[in-house]
């Protein structure tokens, strides 16, 4: 298994497309930082205007923590696309390239090969989220400095003391990884169904957008469906910035996301084990 993991890692990270996600993050985050540097203080003033009438607020509220949290909100729509770019290519890329004929005639079970690919996909997803974390927190704290975090959540504002923020962000990124693993599992599953790499990317994004819209529709008719859509739980990372943290909600959301991932992985196993390689 170790050699298979090494092979799959080597193959994945030797491809140019694997770095598109990292390049996008490396460009986007500094751009957001610059824009926030130019315009950001006005954003905080606008958000705090109502509060400043009743409260006396001191200290650096427009800081690196706030920027990192804003970036998490902003980038979260685009990260699934970057993930499906790699996850969606894991199986369909081999079919397109004809390389299934090279690897699936070996005395290694298909499930072992599939598992190695899946683990590398999860590893890539984790790496991408961590690169977002590293860049947004690193650059943010370096440029804007530290301080307490003013977490805006719809019509509620939570002020989290600086001393708690490392752990809060650690939790937020860990939960973000869990939710992005579900996206990766979806793209990976679709990748087992088709023989070109574009299909899984488009299909994954279409499913996410449709589910996302349904999850956020304030209509009674769609309420019964919402618990069954993984997009309902994708914002679980925001729980890390609530006070107090709702651990039950976190466990419920993580459970739902993990169940989704396990189901998608099982479906991929079923499809891939019986797949006729005719390309």
């Amino acid at each position: 298994m170790l050699i298979l993991l090494y092979n799959e890692c080597f193959k994945t990270f030797a491809k140019w497309r694997t770095y598109i996600g990292f390049i996008a993050v490396a460009i986007l985050i500094p751009v957001v930082m610059v824009l926030m540097h130019l315009e950001g203080s006005r954003f905080v003033e606008r958000q705090m205007r109502a509060l400043s009438a009743d409260f006396f607020i001191t200290g650096n509220l427009f800081n690196g923590w706030l920027i990192a949290q804003i970036i998490m909100n902003g980038l979260w729509v685009h990260v699934p696309a970057l993930i499906s770019l790699v996850a969606g290519d894991q199986l369909s890329g081999e079919a397109t390239g004809g390389t299934f004929r090279l690897i699936l005639i070996r005395p290694v079970s298909r499930i072992t090969i599939l598992n190695a690919k899946y683990l590398v996909t999860l590893f890539y997803t984790k790496l991408l989220v961590l690169s977002i974390a590293l860049l947004s927190l690193g650059l943010g704290l370096w440029i804007f400095g530290s301080g307490d975090l003013v977490a805006f959540d719809r019509d509620m504002v939570t002020i989290i003391p600086e001393s708690q923020l490392w752990l809060r962000f650690l939790l937020a990124y860990a939960l973000a990884i869990v939710s992005m693993w579900t996206v990766a599992s979806l793209a990976f599953f679709i990748s087992s169904l088709v023989e070109n790499a574009i299909g899984p990317i488009i299909t994954t994004m279409t499913i996410i957008i449709i589910f996302f819209i349904i999850s956020n529709l304030p209509i009674d008719a769609v309420e019964p469906f919402k618990p069954w859509l993984f997009t309902t739980y994708m914002n679980v990372w925001q729980q890390a910035f609530k006070d107090p943290i709702d651990w039950i909600e976190i466990a419920r959301s993580c459970g739902a996301l993990c169940a989704y991932s396990v189901c998608l992985w099982s479906a991929t196993v079923l499809v891939f084990r019986n797949k006729d390689i005719v390309t």
């Binding site: 092979n7 080597f10 390239g97 005639i105 070996r106 005395p107 290694v108 006729d276 005719v278």
Partner: protein, 305 residues
Amino acid sequence: MANDVVLRTENLGKKFGHRWAANDINLEVRRGDVFGFLGPNGAGKSTTIRMILSLIAPTTGTVELFGHSLLKKRELALANVAGIVEKPDFYLYLSAYHNMQIAGSLTLGSNPPKTRVLEELKLVGLADRAYDKVKTFSHGMKQRLGIAQALLCSPDLILLDEPTNGLDPQGMKEVRDLIRVLTRERGITVFLSSHLLNEVEQVATRMAIINNGTMIVQGSVEELLKAQANRLVLHVQPVETAAAVIGRIAPNVSLQITHNTISLSVDTAMIPAMITAIAAEGCSIFSVEPKHSLEEYFLTVTETN
């Protein structure tokens, strides 16, 4: 040992939708064979090879490799088997060396030693391109790389599906020579699928012919060719006199006469007497060509089928 069966298929068949791509295929490949698997394009050769290599699940029948059932003990069955199915495809963005490493490690369970990889690349004439990306390789080079990766794990059986497809005459000769080296020097059994009859005739010891998904015949190349009627082509002058002599000696034989050649099928025992009689009539005999070719045989059996 010589008669050990390394590959056996029983009633092997694959149905796509309502069409049987291969049906009731019963093959028996023995250790040391160069086994020619012949058939026209679309006959079901590649489907059969894909089933043998577990790329396609059979609809009916079984595959046994080295005595192990492919369905029940896949890892054991494929442990000593390598193959190239249709065209050899590789990770184009990786070097030949890394492609070899990936393919080799899947069989060996660890990365093959560098010297071993380079040794095989040298055998196929690619040692100097070992670290070049495969996307810069020509079709012929990829074909040779395919053979090198197949050899890397010292298999006892190699399945080659149309290995000379797309190669120039020089490349085709190189592959044929390589097949001879594999069997003679390394003792590898070769299963060679092709629609190029000349290719199989030159290297195969045993063969099977498949047409429309069904196996027509299987056996030793020599015996199968001997079994067909002896076909002769005589280059003779004057052709009318010679034809009259043949008609006298063998009145039931049908002749095809063109310009100064006579084609006929005749019992081997009659040939010396017939030639002597033609010469005695004062005819000039320029050549007598026996037609035992695989091509003739193949066309006969596939057309009959």
